[in-house]
């Protein structure tokens, strides 16, 4: 496109033409990049729209589980903390634990096994401690993230621990 035409060069002015063609090349290239970016932006936002929405959903810091205080001891229930599946356990000694149910190994959903008093991941056999969420055996590299639990007369309130423990 921007081939320099030697016939149009002023005699001895090759440098002048050179800078002009460089300028043109940069200007056309720059305009092209701006144009492409202007095109890519709405397409990206369109495709990413649900990602942004679920990110907003995941930004919750507190979930109120109505009537969950009635949960029998020695049992557990699944709930959604934002978009993430999570686990609320009422232990035999009356204490409560809430943690994310997403295995830290490869993201499967874990389950509470009341008879063995453990949290188990069926995908690769990972085992977690139901009270602390600590990774006990199997492939999981990290403990499950724990939430704060507050019991009221009508509900269980689960919130993100500000310390992130």
């Amino acid at each position: 496109m921007s081939k320099s035409n030697p016939k149009n060069n002023p005699p001895g002015g090759g440098c002048c033409d050179c800078s002009r063609s460089t300028f043109l090349r940069v200007a056309v290239g720059g305009a092209g990049v701006v144009y492409a970016a202007g095109l890519a932006y709405p397409v990206y936002r369109y495709v990413a729209s649900p990602v942004e929405k679920s990110a907003k959903e995941a930004a919750v810091t507190e979930v109120t589980l109505k009537d969950a205080q009635k949960l029998a001891t020695g049992s557990a229930l699944m709930f959604k903390f934002g978009a993430k599946p999570s686990l609320l356990i009422h232990h035999d000694d009356g204490s409560w634990t809430a943690l994310t149910a997403v295995c830290t190994h490869l993201g499967c959903t874990v389950s509470y096994q009341a008879d063995q008093k453990r949290i188990h991941c069926a995908c690769h056999g990972g085992v977690y401690d139901p009270k602390t969420g600590g990774n006990v055996s199997g492939p999981p590299p990290k403990p499950l993230q724990r939430y704060e639990v507050k019991i009221t007369d009508v509900a269980v309130i689960v919130s993100k621990n500000p310390q992130g423990a």
């Binding site: 496109m1 397409v43 936002r45 369109y46 990413a48």
Partner: protein, 359 residues
Amino acid sequence: MKAFFSSIYSWADERLGLEELVQFAKHKTVPVHSQAFWYYWGGLSLFFFVIQCVTGVLLLLYYRPGPEAYDSVRQITYDTDFGWLVRSVHSWSANLMVAAIFVHMFSAFFMKAYRKPREFGWWSGVMLLGMTMIFGFSGYLLPMDELAYFATKVGLEIPSTTPVIGPALADLVRGGPDVNAYTVQRFFTLHVVVLPAIFLPLLGFHLWLVQKHGNAVPPSEDAKPAAQRKSEPFVPTFMMKDFAMWLVAFNVLCVLAFLFPWDLGPQADVLKPSPLGIHPEWYFMSQFQTLKIFGNWFPGKLGEILGVAVFTGGLVLWFLIPLYDNTKEAGRRARRATWFGLFALVALIVTTLWAYLAI
């Protein structure tokens, strides 16, 4: 670095014969004359088709056919970031594509580009236009708003006038005696699977023929001795001009889609009467008006059948024109074909304008 790329190139060339393509591209030329402006319209049609493919795939990310159709289009239009723009570009580009193909077809007609050896180019081209119109018709229903619903209802009355099998055919297309959620599902399947599967190879055939025979020149140019005819290389001269046209077309498309975003009417409701002034898209208005005219002249079923017959007959003649006007000589057949083309063009424009005035 250069040596690296050239070694990759020669590796691939040995296996794929790339050099043949390069030589072909180097020697491909495009005629230069006073009518050369019309050469851009096939490329423009192709460009709008590519836009349709890209925006169509984007719409597929969120569109749900069947009973949820209207709701999913509502979500695309109002809830999804830039969804209104993607949908608007798809709708506008569809209309511009039909318009570009019409210009391309009439310019090919008057250049007599259907003559030997280009008959198959003409036939595949007319078929591509027909399929584009079915693309338009099937896509129009997919939002399942009021306008789409009634336009499809009326449009499907036309195949139902086919003698004997018509009513059964229309029922099959609709998936019932009336336009319903099954119709949307069927039209969706047609629009995104069946039509593309036929359209793409046919388009490939059409484009291959253009490469094989090159651009046709109008008879006035053809009459000149070879030494007086001018041409320019396709790569890079004409290609760059083609790109420039595409850029212009894209900007026009974006401005239209941005300033006049495609509307979504109220949801189709079987119990609601048709809104006033219901009519199909502009490229079906001529047929629409022809049916109306014949319906006024011959009330009842006869008018409907005559209207459809006249249009179908005209289309058959249009399709078969290469067999009639088949020689290079400027004889009586050539003149008659030109008059036929002018008549078709004027008839299309007049009936379309008439239809809009009669709404």
